[in-house]
Symmetry: C2
Subunit: 281 residues, 2 copies
């Protein structure tokens, strides 16, 4: 498998779809619609959509059937970055080498653009009704809402903000934040894609664990690349570079074994997991 | 019909349900979960849930069938108030006589609590799958996502913020903001309730227009009560008190005529519409 061609095809597919779903940047209120598009285009690696596509293929269906889930998880991811960058949160002025949304469009538009992208994620899922079956889409709506909620993504961000103030970090506490803040949405990407591809029961649960393992390993890899940033909630600062690297490798190996159970259909999951965890700067 | 007993019963029903759906205030992260509950309990008049219940009754079903929609619209309403109150938006320190969420819990928790309430609205709808039918719930998910999105609720708030800066107000521009910022969610409350009660086609469309008319009239009534605040985007400041009152009455009369087509089943809609528009301070 040519991993970069595989990924490029899927990135192009979700990019076209997102471009059609987001209101044009010049539609009033233009500052709001410009702000919504600012971080979606050009996007990042589109890893979460790729995980949704790969989950769908692992279930034995053509990857394009996961398109609504692929778009929805990217919209949730993008909204969360916009709000995380706000002055009252991480207060970041740059993201992917460009001004963050609140720098480019003002704080009010950044809050509102994030809100609107979150609502749009659910609109996209609900709209897909025709092709996918209402039951499968309700399952995805629920999985995505839970992953985005106060017990996962938003709770993880709240924990992360409170982390520095709340005593010495421990391995289990760091991983709990990673699990909620990063891994939950990656797991939902895999399982929503798989559910739209027809997966259910044990194989769906197994793909959820795969996604969690890859998600935590992905976050450790992030910490390893940014080890010089010395963040409070980083496994590197708790157990050191070598032990953190070993932990990420162990999680990756476990995830790869799970993906192997899906045979050739799990090839996309394996490629993506390695790509996500064994990154170079 | 005893309007206050009718409303009190429905308020109690949605309050109990919301209490069961929101994480306990002491569940970690406690500041986030406390912030989520701060503006939900004690709530306001619970008008939007009441409109959902009344829409369900207009469709000929018992009002309790609309409970997931009633809870979801209240969650969306509450999230929007929390974000509207933020320093970067309306910068309000008080709401319903109590400190706003960002005053009580800090700005980051206020942003995150709003985010989590919005996600929870969609989780509540998706969870209801068993009782209501997946198709009807997908319809509600879509209607709510559109009403909450950049072309309705969020777009209306962006327009409202930009209003003062963008030249002299005109009647049509003020009503466009009211339609997006307030009326869209009230209309979605009525139609989602009605859809869960089995309504479709023309009667659903008619209930949507009813909700829009009541929603705009409701916002004019708000402006009349707060005429001394002299906001930029107020019909009162554009056409004066008497003309604004006449406009609200005309919209209310039109809405009441629509509700009359539903006979006795539309009684709740009529009571609520009058209650919403003919308020005393």
């Amino acid at each position: 498998m040519d991993a970069s061609a595989w990924l490029a095809e899927r990135t192009a597919l979700v990019d076209r779809y997102l471009d059609g779903r987001l209101p044009p940047a010049n539609e009033p209120p233009a500052a709001l619609h410009g702000a919504m598009r600012h971080l979606v285009f050009p996007g990042g690696k589109r890893l979460r959509p790729a995980f949704a596509f790969a989950g769908c293929e692992a279930a034995g269906a053509p990857h394009a059937r996961a398109l609504p889930a692929a778009a929805a998880v990217e919209l949730v991811h993008t909204y969360s970055l916009i709000h995380d960058d706000l002055p009252c949160m991480d207060d970041d002025a740059l993201r992917r080498g460009r001004p963050t949304v609140h720098i480019a469009y003002g704080e009010a538009n950044a809050v509102l653009a994030g809100d609107a992208l979150l609502a749009l994620a659910f609109e996209v899922l609900a709209d897909a009704e025709g092709g996918c079956g209402a039951e499968a889409l309700a399952w995805c709506t629920r999985a995505l809402a839970v992953a985005a909620g106060s017990r996962q993504l938003v709770g993880g961000q709240a924990d992360d903000l409170a982390f520095a103030a709340s005593g010495p970090p421990a391995l289990s506490r760091v991983e709990a934040v990673h699990r909620r803040k990063s891994a939950a949405l990656i797991a939902a990407s895999v399982t929503c894609g798989a559910r739209l591809g027809g997966a259910s029961g044990d194989s769906l649960a197994e793909l959820g664990v795969f996604g969690e393992e890859v998600g935590v390993a992905f976050q450790i890899a992030d910490d390893l690349l940014d080890a010089d940033r010395n963040e409070a909630c980083s496994l590197v600062s708790v157990i050191g570079v070598e032990a953190a690297r070993a932990r990420a490798e162990a999680l990756l190996e476990s995830a790869l074994r799970r993906a192997c159970a899906f045979g050739e259909r799990g090839a996309g999951l394996r490629v993506l997991a390695e790509l996500a965890v064994r990154r170079e700067k």
